[in-house]
């Protein structure tokens, strides 16, 4: 009888010891990472790097320590997640390819908002061959992004894409070749076309607008407008004049003193600025940023398609372009 009691006691003690261990096994869930968002002045994301494995979900539990932030994954179509102080937002990410992914804040959280970026490092085997990345056109052409590029030939009226498409059915050769259009400024295209075609100045400008317009993928204008509104407008302003709320107290841009201080962006409402810039140049500026103005770099945030839509949208400050059906 005494022996039975001893055994019972031992079994009970083992059982008590087993409960927490078994419990931990049962409730064990994918690791949740707590990510705190703070204004860049206060430290930015609490984790600059997040590590994970291919096809293993990463659970993020996010909150803000100060103002409204938002979590978004760069170059992806995932909707951004709003992060409010005092509340927790959760999201789950799965990556099927190893690599480095950028995450960033999409709500303006201060003057240095754009610095709020971090990296997710995913390790593991690649499931398929990654497409080899082609260097962007501005690198292939060796463009100097910081050189002044003011157009000398200015149209007397706003170039209109629709006017050209009404007049003729076919684009001239120079305006169907995508690489030709992307590597030349509208002014250079105009000069080429003016030499070849027997048209008045304004008609040639309309042709150039039409050619650029044809470069957009479907929905480019809406996409470009949305990207501009969310990411560019606070500095470049709605009118494109470059006097947005974040930069209006800064000195205007000056090519001679480039890099000495942060300045306002150039004035897109001035035809000389945009008509002298090739799409490849604008693309490069968006990818790399800088230009001595303090502009952020967007190369690892936007997809190349998004950047193309944005570039074409910029030309709509100087031309009447239209959304393609």
């Amino acid at each position: 009888m005494e022996k039975l009691a001893k055994i019972l006691v031992v079994v009970l003690i083992l059982l008590v010891a087993a409960v927490p261990l078994l419990g931990q096994q049962i409730i064990a869930q994918p690791e949740t990472i707590e990510l705190r968002a703070r204004m860049p002045e206060n430290g930015g994301w609490s984790q600059e790097f997040i590590y994970g494995l291919v096809n293993v979900p990463i659970k993020l539990r996010m909150t803000s320590d100060d103002v409204v932030h938002s979590f978004a994954l760069a170059q992806s179509s995932l909707p951004s997640v709003e992060i409010f102080p005092g509340k927790f937002s959760e999201t789950e990410l799965v990556f099927d390819q190893p690599g480095e992914y950028t995450f960033y804040c999409t709500r303006w959280c201060g003057a240095n908002h754009w610095r709020m970026r971090g990296t997710i490092v995913i390790e593991g085997p690649a499931s398929s061959d990654q497409p080899t990345s082609v260097p962007p056109l501005f690198l292939q052409l060796g463009l100097d992004l910081d050189a002044p590029h003011f157009a000398r030939v200015i149209p007397s009226n706003r170039p209109e894409s629709a006017r050209a498409s009404e007049r003729t059915n076919a684009l001239p050769d120079g305006l169907t070749d995508g690489e030709n259009i992307w590597s030349k400024s509208p002014e250079a295209l105009w000069k080429d076309l003016k030499a070849d075609e027997d048209l008045d100045d304004q008609s040639v400008w309309d042709m150039v607008a039409w050619g650029l317009n044809q470069q957009g993928s479907s929905g480019w204008m809406g996409q470009g407008r949305e990207l501009y509104t969310q990411n560019c407008l606070a500095c470049h302003s709605e009118s494109g004049r470059g006097d947005g709320v974040m930069v209006r107290d800064l000195p205007p841009m000056n090519h001679d003193k480039m890099g000495s201080e942060a300045t306002r962006p150039p004035d897109f409402s001035d035809p000389a600025v945009l008509l002298g810039a090739s799409p490849a140049l604008l693309e490069g500026k968006i990818i790399r940023g800088g230009m001595g103005t303090g502009m952020p770099y967007w190369g690892n945030i936007f997809t190349s398609e998004q950047i193309r839509s944005l570039v074409l949208y910029l030309y709509s400050f100087q031309m009447e372009l239209e959304e393609r059906p």
Partner: protein, 156 residues
């Protein structure tokens, strides 16, 4: 015949009380104003609105453009229960008819930092009635103080 003594003692307090009640409750009939359209551009920065006080007349058609200049800010107008929030660079617009008279607070809707709870402004619809009544009350008090002539000498 003179007034009974108790009346002459109480006369001044009663008169004062009557005047005070009148000053505080009498309907102030002010000339009605022609409704106009009013436009305000409010710049919101941490942690204030500029301008912080908006004055309109009842019936006015009010348009408020809210411009955030540093972080995301919002606006919520008490009683009117209107709200909007603006990201820097993206102006938010509120349009409404000022159909409720009085003084209303508006406050930031979006947590915008440590002092966010103190980010307040005022919407004044119509004249400042409280101030006008305070002036009337002070005048009534002044009248009683300056009125030295004893009431007991008044004869009916």
């Amino acid at each position: 015949m003179t007034l009974p003594k108790f009346i002459s003692i109480l006369a001044k307090p009663i008169l004062g009380l009557t005047l005070a009640v009148l000053a505080l409750t009498a309907p102030l009939s002010l000339p009605p104003t022609q409704p106009v359209e009013r436009y305000f551009r409010i710049e919101a920065s941490q942690f204030a609105y500029s301008p912080g006080v908006l004055q309109v007349n009842p019936g006015d058609q009010v348009t408020i453009d809210l411009v955030a200049t540093d972080v995301v800010h919002g606006i919520y107008i008490d009683n009117y229960e209107l709200q909007a929030s603006a990201d820097p660079g993206q102006t938010a617009r509120l349009t409404f008819t000022a159909d409720q008279a009085g003084l209303f607070r508006f406050r930031c809707l979006v947590p915008c930092g440590q002092l966010h709870p103190f980010m307040l402004g005022k919407l004044q619809v119509g004249p400042n009635q409280l101030f006008l009544r305070a002036v009337l009350l002070s005048l009534a008090g002044l009248l009683l103080v300056l009125w030295k002539k004893p009431l007991s000498t008044i004869s009916i």
